[in-house]
């Protein structure tokens, strides 16, 4: 993949940090405002896809990013199941909200819900990015 013009590259450099921070905000405030792990993960995957489309890299680096994305997706899934199983081990019920509830409407509240949001966001973001890599980099992989 060759990448796009200088204008697109410059604008991408300016905008991509804001997109990333907005995704992190949506994830971390998932238990307070609309949004959550799924939406924030998709936004972060969108930031990575924007970078990939604007700059482009050779086929070798695509394979490396694909491996990294797969590893991160597995880590997210294992985190989510790990939270569920720790509820089973510590308190006796699968997916029990075993952490203290805290004060409502504060960032550190709602027990395991923020942790679940983070796990899901890692999983969804990495999963969608690896799907994009597999589909968009397809031609380059097949030509080798």
């Amino acid at each position: 993949m060759k990448g796009m013009s200088l204008i697109v590259k410059t604008i991408t450099n300016i905008v991509i940090g804001f997109i990333f921070i907005y995704g992190v905000y949506i994830i971390l405030h998932g238990h307070l405002t609309p949004g959550g792990g799924f939406a924030g993960g998709v936004i972060i995957a969108g930031a990575f896809i924007l970078r990939f489309l604007a700059f482009g890299k050779g086929a070798k680096s695509e394979k490396k990013s694909s491996t990294t994305a797969s590893i991160f997706e597995s880590i997210g899934g294992l985190l989510f199941v790990g939270i569920a199983i720790s509820g089973l081990l510590l308190a006796g019920t699968f997916f029990l909200n075993f952490l203290p509830k805290g004060e409502p409407f504060y960032l550190l509240s709602a027990g395991i819900i923020p942790l679940c949001n983070i796990a899901i966001s890692i999983k969804v973001g990495a999963g969608l990015f690896s799907i994009f890599l597999a589909l968009a980099a397809m031609k380059y992989v097949m030509e080798d």
Binding site: I49, L53, P104, A110, G111, L128, M138
Partner: protein, 177 residues
Amino acid sequence: MIELYLFLAFILVAAIIATEIKDLLAAVISLGAVGFAVAIVFILVQAPDLAIVQIVVEVLTVVIFVAVILRTTHVDETIRKKLSGTQIFSIVLYAFFAILFLIVMFRSLQEMPDFGNPIMRVASEYIKLGLPKTGGANLVADVILDFRALDTLGEATVLFTSAIGVVALMRKSGRKK
């Protein structure tokens, strides 16, 4: 409520254009119009969580579709060929059952209660106990990550399976020339 019906009509028109147009790029853009209209409909029926997810997923879908179409082909060659006899027969059969289904649907929808009123028994429990039981201010997050976390685990598994499927289909190693 009139704007809701306007958007629903717009969704129908855009969906028909998306299936019938010959240029694949235009079809993808019509599909994106359908998705954004669905997001606006979600806002109109007061579901901001779903609207956010719908918008970001729609953007991503359109980008992936465009990236794939730019690398493959622009023209859908299956549209506007001459129809064969069996195709006409299946279209007539489909139209018959669709009209039958719509009539039944119309009759049964008249029996339904109004939208969001009265609140169902399970939902009223969630609304009453959401904040005190979980401490989360966003009720949707409370439901999908606490009361119904097992459903979310299933949804995560579906996404994992689809990613594995796509990567396995597009893999390089072990493929015969």
